[in-house]
């Protein structure tokens, strides 16, 4: 039995064949029989001005620190470093590199567009937390909107696009469209957020603890 008719590499090849070129802050350029990946701002730069890399694993190192040398635990953060180019011989190698630049972006997008991925409403994500994060279950709908507005801004915090509602039947209609538009330009694959990340859960914990302390609880 085969779960999916096409592998993710074949899905990626199809997207590229249809003109797909951009994911998050990176651009994918045809290069001989393979591909070259760059920061989108470096798309027109002379190749000689960019540091050359040749393995998918290089993507993991390129995306690990920002220009100031700070660790990037959130790969959706819009601070990918400039000044590099990554040439890859095959679409399979490109797939591996993409999973280092934007982990699970390809798989999430394929699963979501094929109806195999169900985003978790953020209140459900918070409600299922245990241990030190159990307290996030106390955030109400307005609290959820406030925490997301503070932590997930597209321009400054994270390039993932939110696919989850506040609660079942309660859409996230208070966010700018750029954060919730799941069908951007035809050449762009959206980096989907199907479930609130651990950074947001941690921020929600800080938020509700402060709120309760201010209320004397």
């Amino acid at each position: 039995m085969t779960l999916h008719p096409k592998s993710l590499t074949e899905e990626l090849a199809d997207w590229l064949a249809q003109g797909g070129r951009r994911i998050g802050e990176i651009v994918i350029l045809p290069c001989g029989e393979g591909w070259e990946v760059r920061h989108v701002d470096d798309a027109e730069s002379p190749a000689s001005s960019l540091t050359a890399h040749k393995t998918p694993e290089a993507a993991r190192e390129i995306s690990k620190y920002d220009a100031a040398g700070q660790y990037r635990p959130l790969k959706g953060a819009p601070n990918l470093v400039h000044g590099w180019r990554l040439t890859l011989d095959t679409t399979a190698a490109l797939r591996d590199a993409l999973d280092f630049f934007y982990p699970a972006a390809l798989g999430n997008w394929v699963a979501f567009t094929q109806g195999r991925a169900t985003p978790s409403p953020i209140r459900e994500t918070f409600a299922r937390q245990t241990g030190m994060y159990r307290i996030t279950g106390l955030l109400d709908e307005d609290d959820c909107r406030a925490v997301v507005a503070d932590n997930c801004a597209y321009a400054t915090n994270c390039r993932r696009r939110i696919a989850w509602p506040v609660a079942a039947g309660v859409p996230f209609d208070t966010l700018p469209p750029e954060k919730t538009n799941l069908e951007p330009a035809p050449d762009e694959m959206p980096v989907l957020c199907l479930h609130a990340c651990s950074l947001l859960v941690a921020s929600a914990r800080t938020y509700i603890k402060k709120k309760r302390a201010a209320a004397g609880q």
Partner: protein
Amino acid sequence: MADSSVSSSTWRDAALVILGHGSTQNPDSSTPTWQHADELRRRGLFREVQCAFWKEEPGFREVMHMIDSDHVFVVPNFISEGYFTRDVLPRELELQGPVTHAGGRTIRYCDPVGIHPSMTRLLLKRAAEIAPGVPPSEISLVIVGHGTSLNENSTAAIKSQVELIRASGAGFGEVVDAYMEEEPLIARWDELTTAPNVVVVPFFIADGLHSYEDIPVLLGLTENSPGAISANQGEVFRRNPYALRGRQLFYSAAIGTDELMADVIMDQVAAAPQESTSPAA
């Protein structure tokens, strides 16, 4: 080593997913997990190898979207059984038990690496590497863990390793367990040991604040100046031996950074739960 005859033909059509804790603060936290995945990819035993993390990306809830295979082996790169392996990981992966059938896929949930008996091999190798030329009979081997009053299982894996090494015939003068936050406390290492040479091996998955800074402070290798050691990261492991409290002390990096951990992951795959009789979902 894993018995290559066990299910190896199944592996080639399957995915291996290695789960780690990860960190939003420490860039070294996930490094060993990635390195073990890279090594297992190089060996070509599986159709695909992926990692997922609690505190980093990809997250546990999205990793199944990253693989093509219908058969998946999941190995927690965690040091003990406990809250994460029993509660968090099954919940986030939506597992139904040791073997899960969901969406046409079969997922086998293996035990965490730290509880496999083959960890003994790594500890013996590490002890021999870190104190070359010192006869084992003149070494007190200390395996140090975090320890917490909240979870008795956090010390079980270490106590088990101590027993295995004592029974292994390796000939150490003594082998003891010690912890950062519960008795016997690592801070009293000189009272817990008697040999002239003391080898301390942190039983952790990765190097980080505990191995770079907290344990060295408790051992007395360094002053308590937060950030001073972390800034130099592995430097504390390169100054062996330390002359301290009338002994010669050798301090190791976290056991989980050893390249042989890839073999322990394979040992857990070889011991994966067998197919259940429950119908496919």
